[in-house]
Assembly symmetry: C2
Homo-oligomer: 125 residues x 2
Amino acid sequence: MHQSIQQHIIALEIAALERWNNGDPDGYLALSSLDVIYIDPFFEQKLEGFKALKEYYERIRGKIHVDHYELLNPTVQLMKDRAVLTFKHCSYCGEKVYKWNCTDVYQLNLQWQIIHTPWSLIENR
Amino acid sequence: MHQSIQQHIIALEIAALERWNNGDPDGYLALSSLDVIYIDPFFEQKLEGFKALKEYYERIRGKIHVDHYELLNPTVQLMKDRAVLTFKHCSYCGEKVYKWNCTDVYQLNLQWQIIHTPWSLIENR
């Protein structure tokens, strides 16, 4: 039972991520809850709520193009109707590779939704 | 009821963070679950489990000294026995200021424990 929910969560993420990496935020928008909190290294303040997230995603729609990506070493910590997914995401754009630590906290409402999404860059040192 | 749990979570975090900022990881160790997952920008891979976290914390025990800090704009997303705390953490060390996005996912076992802790640096741009 737990195994299949974990696989389901990872499949949801991969489907959204593949669209994201082609400039299409609609996969993540469809997964995001009304009270979603979004965090990334380029915002001084978190984005709170679906409306703020959608406004941001609309601004960058079509601007992200990843040649290929790797979703590495995913872990799902599952407890009842919450699941914490984390994975390493490497996106390759021409000569550049961007390495991210990604966490998405999912909650089962009518469907599994992302309520908290802190993504961060891995520092090269 | 929810309000007081949220205040309780924030108080737990502040108590651990104040010790952390004086080189003492024991506050966070006391809060961490056996299956805790730790993520920061300087690790290529997440740390999985209390034992791995404790080994890391012991290596840096006594090495962190923050002159003063700010815990800004905390949010707690609470649902039953899970709570997602996020806040901005500015630590001032001499002339330097380090700005972090901090998320700690708490779970109520016998007590509230941290099961997932992705911290990340805010990029200055």
